[in-house]
Amino acid sequence: MERIPILKMGPYLLVTIQVDMHDRVALGLQDDLTQKIVQARAKGVLIDISALDVVDSFIGRTLADIAAMSRVLDAETVVVGMRPAVAITLVELGLPLTGVRTALNVERGMALLEAAITRREDGDADIH
């Protein structure tokens, strides 16, 4: 079965989807990513979907699920590089991925992740 590689970069995990997202590939990614977050104690996940040109409702939902799961595991998630056609499709499907952070490209996504994590650490420090 095809697997989507998950790269570790410091405290972040980088997922670049370069193949067609079949349902099983998406579910595989969900499994792998949750395991990897726990294993690597990742603070942030960046999912690059710039190569993805077709989405259906299942993939859209899986993306939202992955983001929600990462949040539960205490890792911020950013989805970057969505194509206009994909964005329109998701909105028309009624899946605006509310609660998922988005950015135009990897660079901005990284900046967003860093900012979010810094803010959270500051917040945690305030609590203690």
């Binding site: 206009p84 994909v86 964005a87 329109i88 909105v91 135009l104 996504g109």
Partner: protein
């Protein structure tokens, strides 16, 4: 062929030149456009071809103008109607082309059947019916032509009316003018998202000053656009909300959710600049060059 139509066919064959001449004169006088607008030459050519078509159609015997033998006559009428649509003729002026033929034809029939009133009445009636049908056909084609023009203009309007303006590096503005329906939303969304990709903008301001009314559907379309832009990593601000629109939105119970809304584009732009970490500061104004060089015109008299 029925007798009355036989007479008409005969008249058309024998007196074609006279009928054509009288008809042309009638068209030129009747609506006052034959000579000036279409040009008498073109009108004459059309008229001659129509008479031929009419004669051929009659020869086949039927008066069903949608039948195959009437094909040439119909084609000519289509040509005339579409040409007149493009030139902005009124429906009456267009239908006049066929109806003005009645007078010369009736005159010929009267001459031929002067001694048989019953036959004359019958022939006049069927000729009138036939020309009415052809006239209605012309009007239909005219109507169709107009509808095509309207559709084309609608398309052009959709394309023209969705500009995406760069207000600042990273700030896009989308002034929407006119009603926001589904097809329009699609175009707006596509052009906005494409511009976000091209320019790398992180904030988009949707200005709805030019949207006359906002109902639940329009609001839904706006929210869709905002959601799609967010998926691309750009935040949206909706500006230009007029007092009545604000009232309508609340009365309808439309939930704009977490979307930032501002009354004017200027307010929205200020928010955008703040988000980007930019400030606008006041400094001594710089006058335009012309104003500085010219002496004040009203100071001399005082």
């Amino acid at each position: 062929m029925a007798e009355e139509l036989e007479v008409l066919h005969q008249a058309l064959t024998d007196d074609e030149a006279w009928i054509l001449e009288t008809w042309l004169d009638g068209q030129a006088d009747g609506a006052g456009f034959g000579a000036t607008r279409a040009g008498r030459g073109e009108l004459a050519a059309h008229s001659r071809r129509f008479l031929e078509g009419l004669r051929d159609g009659l020869k086949s015997g039927g008066t069903d103008v949608m039948a195959t033998p009437w094909e040439p006559a119909r084609q000519l009428l289509e040509e005339v109607a579409l040409a007149r649509t493009e030139r902005g003729y009124s429906p009456a002026e267009t239908a006049q082309f066929v109806f003005s033929l009645k007078q010369p034809l009736f005159e010929r029939l009267r001459e031929r059947l002067a001694d048989r009133p019953a036959a004359l009445a019958a022939a006049t009636w069927s000729t009138s019916l036939l020309l009415d049908r052809l006239g209605l056909f012309t009007t239909e084609i005219y109507q169709r032509g107009r509808e095509q023009v309207i559709m084309r203009q609608q398309q052009e309007m959709i394309e023209l009316s969705t500009p995406v303006v760069t207000l600042w590096d990273g700030v896009l503005a989308l002034p929407i003018i006119g009603t926001l329906d589904s097809s329009r939303t699609q175009v707006v969304m596509e052009s906005l998202l494409q511009r976000i990709v091209d320019s790398g903008a992180s904030i988009a301001i949707i200005d709805i000053t030019g949207v006359p009314t906002v109902d639940t559907l329009t609001a839904q379309h706006l929210l869709k656009t905002v959601a799609a832009a967010r998926l691309m990593g750009a935040d949206c601000i909706i500006s230009g909300i007029r007092p009545q629109i604000a009232q309508t939105i609340v009365h309808l119970g439309v939930d704009l959710g977490t979307v930032i809304t501002k009354a004017t584009l200027a307010d929205a732009f200020a928010v955008a600049l703040r988000r980007l970490g930019l400030t606008v500061t006041r400094r001594p104004p710089v006058l335009p060059r012309e104003t500085r060089q010219e002496p004040p015109s009203d100071s001399g008299g005082a």
